[in-house]
């Protein structure tokens, strides 16, 4: 399947915690290997656990999956996962920066930190997605994306494993589209 892009968007950022990984896979499995946007995925994880996350997600998807490396440049058709125990930021030249500063809302990586820095770089050409999760992380970042003119999307809480995160995002970002996972995938394929 070939996806034709209008050029309206340049990147996608997604975040979640509890239930977030399964939700992300349910979306990513629909994207073809030549999906034209880079995708950044921030999931809260246990500290100090050796990460099998990229390998787990890779099994079920066509797009390339990898952990974001320091100073790596974002490429289309690739999903970059925030490494455990670092904040992941995006520079103006679309390379990644890592940061071990304080946890935000008990989380490192923090979804807010990645979303806010992505909003600075991509402005209205950014899609932000908040998935299932047991924290309020992501709301503030999604708000920033929306304010910068980007598209805010939240997983329908009725479908989420844990509703705290999507619920908080919907309350904070009134203009967010609330969609099921299938609808989010369809949206990503149509833009």
């Amino acid at each position: 399947m070939k996806v034709y892009m209008s050029g309206k968007y340049k990147a996608v950022v997604m975040g979640g915690s509890w239930g977030g990984m399964n939700a992300a896979v349910e979306i990513l499995k629909y994207l073809p290997a030549d999906y034209p946007l880079p995708i950044v995925l921030v999931l809260h994880r246990l500290k100090g656990v050796i990460s099998e996350l990229p390998a787990l997600i890779r099994k079920k998807t066509y797009v390339q999956i990898k952990e974001a490396d320091e100073k790596e440049k974002m490429q289309p058709g690739t999903v970059y996962i925030a490494p455990a125990d670092y904040h992941l930021l995006i520079e103006q030249d679309q390379t990644f920066s890592l940061d071990v500063s304080e946890a935000i809302l008990f989380s490192r990586p923090s979804i807010d930190v990645t979303f806010e820095s992505a909003a600075e770089v991509f402005g209205k050409k950014l899609i932000g997605i908040v998935l299932s999760g047991a924290s309020k992380d992501g709301s503030q970042g999604l708000y920033t994306i929306c304010r910068a003119g980007g598209q805010a999307i939240v997983q329908d809480p009725r479908q989420a494993e844990v509703t705290t995160m999507p619920q908080a995002a919907i309350e904070t970002v009134k203009r967010a589209k609330v969609l099921t996972l299938d609808e989010i995938a369809a949206y990503l394929l149509a833009v």
């Binding site: 490396d69 320091e70 670092y86 071990v100 820095s117």
Partner: protein, 270 residues
């Protein structure tokens, strides 16, 4: 959103007045910390931040503390310390006298971890460690060697995973919620302000440890620091970096041979 031109101007002025150079720090990360600082101190814009820092050296000192990241822990990434113990220490122990540089030692958790490891390997007495940081306040804190008791459960787990031979509690006593570490661990440690962005090489070392510092620098500054490390490493000396760092942006990466790929331990090749 902060204006990059104004940020450049602020950094130029701070460099002229105080000699601290933030121009080649990773922008996204340093901008985030600058805007956090402005929120906390209720400064409305970059111009007022510039005036306030230039006018008042103490305020600048405060700015410096908040802009640089000083989050650390004892035996952070225990597998790194285990690799150090298993792969580097046996070689170091063949030297009559060992010199180590801990660049960016922050509040001292890493220094105490290193000192404990060396003591358990019977090397501490013939080792001299130079512990440096850009930030003088954290150096004073590091010298005190008092860390929150509340962190000791986590640090004990790290210590055990790092191949600790005894019990972490052998090295500290509890006092008013603080764990006061044995000060004899610091006998051969020299604390010293040093700025990787502007200062030069000051000695020759068998091991340099610089973890989670380079991630805050752009490629140019990383290249400078690798040059500095190369000048400061004895032939066949070791370099230990943070888990997500590499010698990729060194001007001559071939001068660093990988000893442990996962733990980012390298050795100077010539």
């Amino acid at each position: 959103m902060l204006d990059n031109v104004q940020v450049d101007d602020l950094f130029e002025e701070l460099l002229k007045q105080y000699g601290y150079d933030f121009r080649d720090y990773s922008r996204a990360s340093v901008l985030r910390r600058v805007s956090r600082f402005m929120t906390h101190t209720r400064l409305p814009d970059l111009h007022s931040l510039k005036l306030a820092t230039l006018k008042d050296p103490q305020f600048f000192e405060y700015f410096l503390q908040e802009i640089t990241v000083n989050v650390t822990e004892m035996f952070r990434d225990p597998s790194f310390f285990l690799a150090l113990r298993q792969k580097v220490v046996p070689i170091l122990s063949t030297y009559p006298y060992i010199k180590i540089w801990d660049a960016g030692c922050s509040t001292g958790e890493e220094i105490f971890s290193l000192a404990i490891l060396l003591k358990e390997e019977n090397l501490l007495k013939r080792t001299r460690i130079y512990a440096t940081d850009i930030n003088q306040k954290v150096l004073r804190q590091a010298k005190e060697g008092i860390f929150p008791m509340a962190h000791m459960v986590h640090y004990t787990k790290n210590y055990q995973k790092a191949g600790g031979k005894y019990s972490l509690s052998d090295y500290y006593h509890a006092h008013h919620g603080g764990a006061i570490f044995d000060s004899t661990l610091l006998e051969n440690i020299i604390f010293y302000p040093h700025n990787l962005a502007t200062d030069e090489s000051f000695n020759e070392f068998h091991l340099i440890i610089c973890r989670n510092v380079l991630i805050y620098f752009n490629k140019q500054l990383q290249e400078r620091v690798f040059g500095l490390f190369l000048k400061s490493l004895a032939p066949l000396g070791y370099l230990g970096l943070g888990k997500k760092e590499s010698v990729l942006f060194a001007a001559k990466p071939e001068f660093f041979e990988s000893i442990d790929k996962e733990e980012k331990i390298y050795r100077r090749t010539y």
